[in-house]
């Protein structure tokens, strides 16, 4: 297989909102950019969110235009479904070894007609819908994915050939192999983002085995207009939940699970989801169990006060245990601290764990001199001076790769990373 070579000014690793924004900001200044994404679509976590706080703007309405701009930009090369295997520093340039994973279709020929997806007989749990919906073994990852290419999962494919027969362009290629790509760049921006703390992080919260204790990402999908069920239903039996609880600090500010820092977004996304839930389930009781509400950004405190005024019940308590009754109703055990205090067990019908943010990628593994901080996020060389400069020359960081932050902060950071990278490239 011939090695595809790309030469650009800057390489952006990750295409979440931070990666998209820094790629756009660099490209609009006249620099050429390559953006590498391991998933089949660009857009990162944000494209799967329902709405954003505190304005309740539609998340895809903000992300999709940026995704489109990036994919159509003359100076941006987008590599999706591709992994960065290594980045070597050679003098003043970086050489990145990329592997394009096979989609098993000819991307040059595919016209995104979805015929293959329609005829495919095998259904899989859809990880984009957090396992709540189903997708075909060959399918376009989600409605507004960019690029609109289907991906085949050979481990589930039964080789029936239905897709190949249905394809009008004859572009199904069962023999496709991973393809190496080499990118030469003068600067690297790490925008590798976050993962939420796993559902199995805390033994006392059921280790992910309680069907009606769900992740906030799953709740986002339930609330999204194009979500798996089109409305809010609980996973175990499809019932409309009448009592919903949020467990704050379920994956951060907890030394016992090794994550002592505050994840900065959980209070706000829980409040946002609670507000959206009271829209879609007007008679549901919604409780947020919190240690303290951290509503620190512009308009956030007002947002919190609005939620209180809407009747969302805020209870100061750290949930110590979650069990369930015979109908899979989650039961939370807390200490009431108001009135006659003492331990108490309260039954809900759906519980959402407000998980924290942990790094998605170890940025130091590339050996570019960019060190990690004690929690595995990319360390800034001096955060009082710049919010993007790392310990490695020519290596910059944007978004949640350097620590938990919300979308507005990530966008601002991404601009700052683009400026730092541009000024570095100019000085070379």
């Amino acid at each position: 297989m011939s090695l595809e070579k790309i030469e650009v000014d800057a390489l952006v690793v990750g295409s979440g909102i931070a990666g998209l924004q820094s790629a756009l900001d660099l490209a609009d200044q006249g620099y050429s950019v390559a953006i590498v994404e391991r998933n089949p679509s660009i857009g990162g976590k944000m494209i799967s969110l329902s709405k954003v706080f505190p304005t309740l703007d539609c998340a895809s309405c903000i992300t999709t235009p940026r995704m489109a701009s990036v994919s159509h930009h003359p100076r941006i090369t987008t590599l999706t479904y591709s992994t960065v295997d290594a980045i070597r520093r050679e003098g003043k340039t970086f050489t990145a070894a990329i592997t394009r994973k096979p989609r098993y279709i000819d991307e040059k020929e595919c016209i995104s007609c979805k015929r293959c997806e329609e005829v495919c007989p095998v259904f899989l749990p859809d990880e984009y819908e957090q396992g709540m919906g189903a997708k075909k073994t060959i399918s376009i990852p989600f409605t507004n994915a960019i690029p609109q290419f289907p991906v085949m999962h050979p481990e589930h494919c039964i080789r029936c050939g239905a897709c190949a027969r249905a394809c009008p362009k004859d572009c199904i290629d069962f023999l496709q192999e991973p393809a190496p790509v080499e990118i030469k760049a003068k600067a690297v921006i790490l925008a590798t983002g976050y993962e939420t703390t796993p559902m199995t992080a805390k033994k006392q919260y059921g280790l992910g085995a309680l069907p009606n204790v769900i992740s906030p990402m799953a709740a986002e999908r339930l609330l999204a207009p194009h979500g798996p069920y089109g409305r809010v239903l609980r996973p175990s039996d499809g019932m409309t939940p009448g009592s919903i609880a949020y467990v704050q600090c379920a994956g951060s500010r907890d030394k016992s699970i090794g994550i002592p820092y505050c994840s900065r977004v959980c209070c706000m996304y829980a409040i946002k989801q609670a507000i959206l839930l009271s829209g879609s389930l007007p008679i549901a009781d919604i409780t947020i169990y919190y240690m303290d509400i951290r509503a620190f950004g512009k308009g956030y405190e007002q947002f919190y006060n609005n939620a209180r005024a809407m009747g969302i019940n805020f209870v100061k308590a750290k949930v110590a245990r979650i069990t369930e009754d015979e109908n899979h109703n989650p039961v939370v055990r807390i200490e009431k601290q108001e009135g006659t205090s003492g331990p108490e067990e309260i039954k809900h019908e759906l519980v959402i764990l407000s998980q924290g943010l942990v790094p998605a990628c170890d940025g130091s593994k590339f050996g570019l001199g960019a060190a990690n901080n004690e929690f595995g996020f990319v360390k800034l060389s001096d955060e009082t001076v710049s919010s993007a400069v790392t310990d490695g020359a020519g290596v910059f960081v944007a978004g949640t790769a350097k620590g938990p932050r919300d979308i507005p902060d990530s966008v601002v950071d991404a601009g700052s990373a683009a400026i730092e990278a541009a000024s570095y490239i100019r000085r070379l």
Binding site: K202, S256, M291, A317, K318, A320, E335, Q337, G342
Partner: protein
């Protein structure tokens, strides 16, 4: 209410060095399987300690309900060690209940009690060795004096605990005469059944306690009834008295050995932090078991006239003397009495609240 701003620093002298990290989230109280609506802990007492509510802390019964399963410390988001705080409170309360004030000094000054014990042991051994009369008869008298001394010491504690937890907060002498309450207290006293109220029963710890307790009670029985006079007659290896001795000695050795190794290995939350008084307790316990066994072995194997037996028996009595004089009445040992008493006093408080308590 009077506030003592130095209270938390005072409690920290008894352990619980990390408690200032607490941010009052209540995880500990909610996760605790023994915490109840009418006796909720540890968070409330941590708060009381932080804000200096000395009378509330001194009158607390909750520390005696805690069996230190360690669930609260293991899940504390701040690693503030609430379980260890409850342990420190138990030490603080023992010092509070102790009329002589010696427990307080021993708890606060590290290894002082251990050094004193070592010194006293040497002194008593020397004293017993230089006694020229019939040591067997003397030992009998010494052993008879033990229960008298312990009863006086214990009486002082119980009266003082009653004063702090009932008389002061309730403003008078109150009691409950309901048979159910008295029965409940006795059951807790003999079985310490709340041990198993913890979510995951720590069976090793429970068995170690059971072995040590049963061995220890039997040892007390043997010495107080003066069942053993190893300098006067030879015992059969498997006679009734011998069987008692073998069991109690081995039980103490095995139980004490488990306890010590857990403290060395820090294998459970409850054994992570060891105060010198804990070490003194398990080590002396171990020595009592070992010297008892050795004495009896020498008697059975070589007869009452064995010269080594004479020495080891004196050592055995010297260890027991130090144990009774210095270790039983101060610091750790008495905790077994406060747990059932706290159960009883909790009943008294409820009765008093309902206005049905017996009062003077």
């Amino acid at each position: 209410m009077k506030v003592n701003p130095e209270l938390i620093d005072e409690i920290k002298k008894y352990g619980a060095f990390d408690i200032s990290a607490c941010f009052n989230c209540g995880n500990c109280t909610a996760v605790c399987p023994l915490s109840k609506e009418d006796a909720s802990f540890p968070r409330k007492l941590i708060r009381a300690g932080h804000v200096g509510m000395e009378e509330k802390v001194a009158s607390a019964l909750e520390p005696w309900h805690c069996y230190y399963c360690g669930e609260c410390s293991a899940t504390c988001p701040r690693e503030a060690q609430p379980g260890e705080y409850m342990m420190a409170l138990r030490r603080y309360l023992i010092a509070k209940y102790d009329i002589t004030g010696l427990s307080k000094i021993f708890y606060k000054t590290g290894w002082l009690q251990a050094w004193l014990a070592a010194g006293l042991l040497a002194a008593f051994y020397w004293l017993y060795s230089s006694y020229t009369g019939d040591f067997g008869a003397l030992a009998g008298k010494i052993e008879l004096a033990f229960p008298v001394y312990v009863t006086i010491a214990l009486g002082g504690y119980i009266i003082n605990m009653y004063r702090h937890t009932i008389v002061k907060p309730l403003g008078g002498i109150k009691a409950s005469l309901k048979p159910a309450h008295i029965y409940d207290t006795l059951v807790h006293g003999f079985t310490q059944k709340n041990f198993n109220g913890c979510e995951e029963t720590d069976w090793t710890r429970w068995i170690a306690h059971l072995l040590v307790m049963s061995g220890y009670v039997l040892t007390l029985l043997i010495s107080n009834l003066h069942l053993l006079s190893p300098l006067d007659k030879q015992y059969v290896a498997f006679g009734p008295v011998s069987l008692l001795v073998w069991y109690s000695g081995l039980a103490i050795l095995v139980g004490g050995g488990i306890m010590s190794s857990r403290r060395v290995l820090k294998s459970a939350q409850s054994s992570k932090f060891s105060h010198p008084s804990d070490w003194l307790f398990v080590v002396t316990m171990f020595l009592i078991g070992a010297s008892l066994l050795f004495t009896h072995f020498l008697n059975v194997a070589y007869g009452p006239g064995d010269p080594l037996l004479a020495k080891i028996y004196r050592l055995n009595i010297a260890i027991e003397t130090v144990w009774i004089i210095l270790i039983v009445p101060f610091t750790k040992w008495i905790h077994i009495f406060f747990r059932p008493l706290a159960v009883y006093f909790q009943h008294v408080r409820k009765e008093a609240e309902a206005g049905t308590a017996f009062s003077i």
